[in-house]
Symmetry: C2
Subunit: 131 residues, 2 copies
């Protein structure tokens, strides 16, 4: 754990939301002005490999990072791209059946809900009324 790695890790935790690498970089920079983007990327990748943080993917090509290792799910706004945790009562299988005709060794399951966040929904409503 180098100084930079600790700060990257703490920043992911501090931001709480589901920041992208660049958002983490911008925040780390405040504490460590000379840090480079590649250092942030490398340390994020090490932290993911070590299981200290998780990645979240949605639509769009950026990866989001999550410090919450507990079993939970995400929703992404298709308008603004924001990722949030989601609390709803529908059931997602927490156990993956490894048997499949295709012969894959299944290791993980990416699940992200897609929708519109309250802020964007509201903004769209206001814009409709104005028009």
């Amino acid at each position: 754990m180098t100084k930079q790695r600790v700060i990257v890790f703490n920043t992911v935790k501090a931001l709480g939301s589901h920041p992208t690498a660049f958002e983490i970089f911008e925040r780390v920079r405040k504490e460590l002005p000379g840090v480079s983007l590649s250092t942030v990327y490398r340390n994020l990748s090490i932290l993911v490999d070590q299981g200290d943080i998780l990645t979240v993917r949605g639509i769009g090509q950026e990866v989001h990072y999550d410090h919450n290792l507990h079993d939970h799910y995400h929703v992404q706004c298709r308008i603004c791209g924001k990722v949030s945790d989601i609390h709803t009562d529908f059931i997602i299988p927490s156990c993956i059946n490894p048997n499949n005709e295709e012969g894959y060794i299944i290791e993980d399951m990416l699940i992200t809900l897609i929708g519109v966040c309250p802020e964007c929904a509201n903004r769209m409503k206001v814009e409709d009324e104005d028009a």
Copy 2:
């Protein structure tokens, strides 16, 4: 439906697998040598908007395209990136409960399993034996 759009659509169907935009471009090119990559991208995007094809996302940043509109799920090999349909008997909720504390309007659900395909699993086994 322009000539190019029809060919892009037919190519996605013909390829059957879950090709990336570039793979589609390379195949379309054989039939339409002067086609540009941007034309392929634009038409893929229009076909997606019209609901004629679907996108599949996994790890990595490329988008895969799928002509199969029926309800089914995908698995991606984390080694080679290949995407396949998956037939297994675990249960995925087909109906999304729209109620959630966060107030999102939920519209869709991205699900992709991640694992190792039989070919890569075998190749890794052989390499281990050699070493």
